[in-house]
């Protein structure tokens, strides 16, 4: 239909506004970063930036899936830490042993996510408390696995996943892209994925429309666990060790929420895309890098990060000033 053609672009834009905003924010920040970097826009600079950012990108994707259902996963960072510790034991040895190790780590993440989902769906606990509790459990397990930092990883595999393909493209970026294509795209286009959005938007209406409400939530939490596990594997590939790091686990959880909001995903549920969340994560990481190239005192970093985050999120709320029935502010 021809008359719909111009409308198509408009609605596509309206739907993707959050993602586009995050992408633009990232591109602008990254351009500022590389143009002030002493080495400039070289494969090495991009590789370092990409390796640092992909970790948060995976956790942000995990958070995004859950947030779409109007839930929240405060254990995402600890799943990452647990999988890091697990990988530092298992992803070693012969290629076969390494392969089995990777699979086990991923399954462990999936299991953590499913546990969250089951508790929230069948235990009817609030996602926020349920995941605080499981977060402590996951950290406890990590601590048992690695009371002190240590362990190792199959270095060939680790290097392959953190190197540059053809000497130019960072492998971590390619893996990130592959994960989006393999996990996010099918999810967002399946009936289950649509049910996840519907649950986040209006759970009653979704239930009344006979949608698979429980299955959709469980899938979102389970895939969230899997994505955090991929993040945990990557952490191991960078660090070559496992460490039950409490502070960094919590930081990943909080940053993933910030990244998701930066990426245009509504914390109220029903809106947003994991691609946006990934760009949100990349942008968030670049804020930190900017301080580095501008030679700011590292003491300024949290303050600066906070202000930039505040500004970026503030732009998203401009629409509220046009509301005519004030009761809509609270919806």
């Amino acid at each position: 239909m021809n008359k719909h053609a111009s409308g198509d672009r408009r609605f596509w834009y309206a739907q993707q506004k959050g993602t586009l905003f995050a992408a633009l924010l990232f591109v602008a920040m990254f351009a500022l970063y590389v143009s002030n970097h002493p080495a400039g826009f070289t494969p090495n600079v991009v590789q370092t930036a990409s390796n640092k950012a992909t970790l948060l990108a995976f956790v942000a994707m995990a958070q995004c899936l859950v947030v779409i259902t109007a839930g929240i996963d405060l254990s995402a960072g600890m799943v990452l830490v647990l999988c890091n510790c697990l990988a530092s034991w298992l992803v070693v040895g012969t290629p076969l042993q390494t392969g089995v190790g990777v699979v086990v780590v991923l399954l462990a993440g999936l299991g953590c996510g499913m546990l969250n989902g089951l508790i929230i769906i069948f235990g009817r606990l609030q996602p926020i408390v349920a995941t605080i509790a499981t977060s402590a459990i996951f950290y406890g397990l990590a601590l048992l696995l690695r009371p002190t930092p240590g362990g190792s990883v199959n270095e060939d595999l680790a290097d392959a996943f953190t190197s540059k393909l053809l000497g130019v493209v960072p492998a971590s970026l390619v893996v990130l892209l592959a994960v989006i294509v393999v996990i996010w795209v099918p999810f967002s286009r399946s009936a289950i994925g649509r049910a996840a959005y519907a649950v986040g938007s209006a759970e009653n209406a979704a239930y009344m429309s006979a949608m698979p409400v429980k299955r959709a939530k469980l899938t979102a939490y389970a895939l969230g666990g899997l994505l955090s596990a991929i993040g945990g594997l990557y952490l191991t590939f960078f660090s070559y060790t496992g460490e039950a790091a409490f502070a960094s686990g919590n930081a990943y959880t909080l940053y993933s929420i910030a990244a998701v909001v930066l990426g245009g995903v509504s914390l109220a549920g029903g809106r947003g895309s994991a691609v946006g969340a990934v760009f949100g994560a990349l942008a968030f990481r670049t804020i930190g890098d900017l301080l580095f190239v501008f030679d700011f005192d590292p003491l300024w970093q949290p303050l600066f990060q906070g202000v930039v985050l505040m500004l970026a999120i503030g732009i998203g709320c401009i629409g509220l000033s046009r509301v005519r029935n004030r009761l809509e502010w609270f919806q």
Binding site: G7, A191, Y197, G200, S209, R271, L327
Partner: protein, 512 residues
């Protein structure tokens, strides 16, 4: 008129909810290729009948026949599969999904396990075109559409399920006039295609325009079925009322309000939902707001209470113009207004908090000194209110959620009375509460009016308006179309004015 065999029939359907009979021995026969209007007052059993037909609730007695074969529906999905689809009055759309997503929601087209967006788009476009709403873009988000367009999407969603019998429950109540005409054209085309349609509306002229057959419901019974056009409006209204109503209302004082108006509205309007609202209210007066549901009554109360933005026109308190920008302004000293909201669970109460906290929340500045709550003063005020309203609660420190519906409603009212408001707005305060509590609320309103409060009272129950109010403003399409006073306030006039048919004729032709 073709006398085809009925497609769908009910025989002796009954349904009770607890002790209340919602439907008793309801018989109705729906033929294909015809539009069957179902008429009746609020609570006459229409919605229960529809819910049974659509598989939402199961009947206690009686049977349903489709194509002459007895059937029972375990779920709405089963009714859909049998070809019965309902367009509900309460919208069932998911706001954050697109129009196309919503239209195919229960059965999206799949390809390799993923939703086939191209086919989905085609289905949605077809359904929208069939519903006469091809101006709606399939990719638009439902929440960005105005109410009238959402209603069209609901209809398209129903059509996409290829029904044989489609039920429209007040499907036009949110539509603009031009949409109504489009929907009518669509319904007539569907009728010509042989679909069976059930059409429920309070708007008499719509029924006159559309229906082939009518069935009137009253008190849960199907009173009479007749071919459309064989009865006058007056006869139909008579069939719908046809009952005596017992007087549960305190006597009205002869004369109220000789003083100057405490509140006056001049030409108030808000978008396309309210226009040209002009009225005065004096201290001690109870003014009713009537009309069909959703004609702007709620918006009027919200506008007065400062909730709506960009309200045009003038509101004067004691003759002085004021601007009301928030409920806080409306509550403030000089104006001293209170709104008892419609939905006590979301707008009236904080359910998990205690009775005490709920009661004093709107009057904290009255019972606190330097920002510290004076528990003794709070207690005294609450005791007074408990007596005044006869609230039954074991202790004031129990959560308000544990009270019965009637007592919850009393708490909502009491909460605002602590401020001693001069102007009280009530939004359908007796909906869903028992008769005894209702009566107490009526008494309370009279007491408050006697003490000098001006009360504006929106109710969907005509008896209440008749029994309680000194004057009644009847609204239609965002305007006050009639103002009834004294003996004019009776059921015939109210229904006539609400349906926007000449009330005088109704009054004359039906012997009182």
């Amino acid at each position: 008129m073709t006398l085809s065999e009925p497609l769908f029939r009910t025989e002796g359907i009954s349904k009770r909810y607890g002790g209340a009979v919602a439907l008793k021995d309801a018989d109705i026969a729906i033929r294909p290729g015809a539009i069957h209007a179902v008429l009746g007052e609020n609570g006459a059993g229409k919605s229960t009948l529809i819910k049974i037909m659509a598989g939402v609730v199961a009947p206690d007695e009686g049977r349903m026949l489709l194509d002459g074969k007895e059937i029972a529906f375990a779920s709405p999905a089963a009714a859909n599969a049998a070809g019965i689809v309902c367009v509900f009055q309460e919208l069932s759309l998911i706001p954050d999904l697109s129009v196309a997503d919503n239209i195919v929601i229960s059965n999206p087209p799949l390809r390799f396990g993923m939703i086939d967006r191209r086919r989905q788009r085609r289905i949605a476009e077809e359904a929208l075109a069939r519903a006469g709403a091809s101006d709606i873009h399939p990719s638009a988000l439902v929440k960005d559409l105005p109410l009238s367009r959402r209603q069209m999407v609901e209809i398209a969603k129903a059509l996409a399920r290829k029904p044989r019998l489609m039920i429209l429950d007040e499907a036009t109540s949110a539509l603009t006039q031009s949409d109504v005409e489009k929907v009518f054209a669509v319904l007539k085309r569907l009728r010509a295609e042989g679909m069976a349609l059930i059409y429920i509306s309070h708007r008499m002229h719509e029924i006159a325009q559309l229906a082939d057959e009518c069935t009137v419901f009253r008190n849960g019974r199907s009173i009479e079925s007749y071919p459309a056009g064989t009865k006058t409006d007056q006869q139909v209204v008579e069939l719908m009322i046809g009952r005596e109503y017992s007087n549960v209302f305190p006597p009205k004082p002869a004369h109220r309000g000789e003083q100057k108006p405490v509140l006056s509205c001049l030409d108030l309007s808000w978008g396309d939902r309210l226009s040209g609202i002009t009225f005065d209210i004096r201290p001690g007066e109870i003014i009713g707001v009537g009309g069909l549901d959703g004609q702007g009554q709620r918006e009027l109360l919200l506008a007065l209470f400062g909730v709506l933005r960009d309200v045009k026109g003038e509101v004067a308190i004691d003759g002085r113009p004021v601007t009301l920008k928030s409920p806080r302004d409306a509550k403030s000293g000089g104006i001293s207004m209170a709104l008892i909201p419609e939905d006590r669970k979301t707008e009236g109460l904080m359910l998990p908090m205690t009775v005490r906290e709920n009661l004093s929340i709107a009057a904290l500045d009255r019972v606190s000194r330097n920002g510290v709550i004076d528990r003794a003063a709070e207690r005294r005020e609450i005791d007074d209110l408990f007596k005044l309203l006869a609230i039954k609660a074991a202790t004031i420190d129990m959560p308000v959620a544990a009270l019965s519906g009637g007592n919850q409603q009393k708490v909502v009212i009491a909460k605002w009375l602590m401020n001693r408001p001069r102007i009280i707005l009530l939004n359908d305060p007796t909906r869903g509460i028992d008769v005894g509590t209702k009566q107490e609320i009526y008494l309370l309103l009279h007491k408050l009016a006697d003490a000098g409060a001006a009360i504006i009272f929106y109710s969907t129950d005509y008896d209440e308006l008749i029994g309680c109010c000194d004057r009644v403003l009847v609204m239609y399409d965002g305007r006050i179309i009639r103002e009834l006073e004294g003996a004019e306030i009776n059921e015939h006039e109210l229904i006539g004015a609400a349906l926007n048919i000449a009330g005088d004729h109704v009054a004359q032709r039906i012997a009182p």
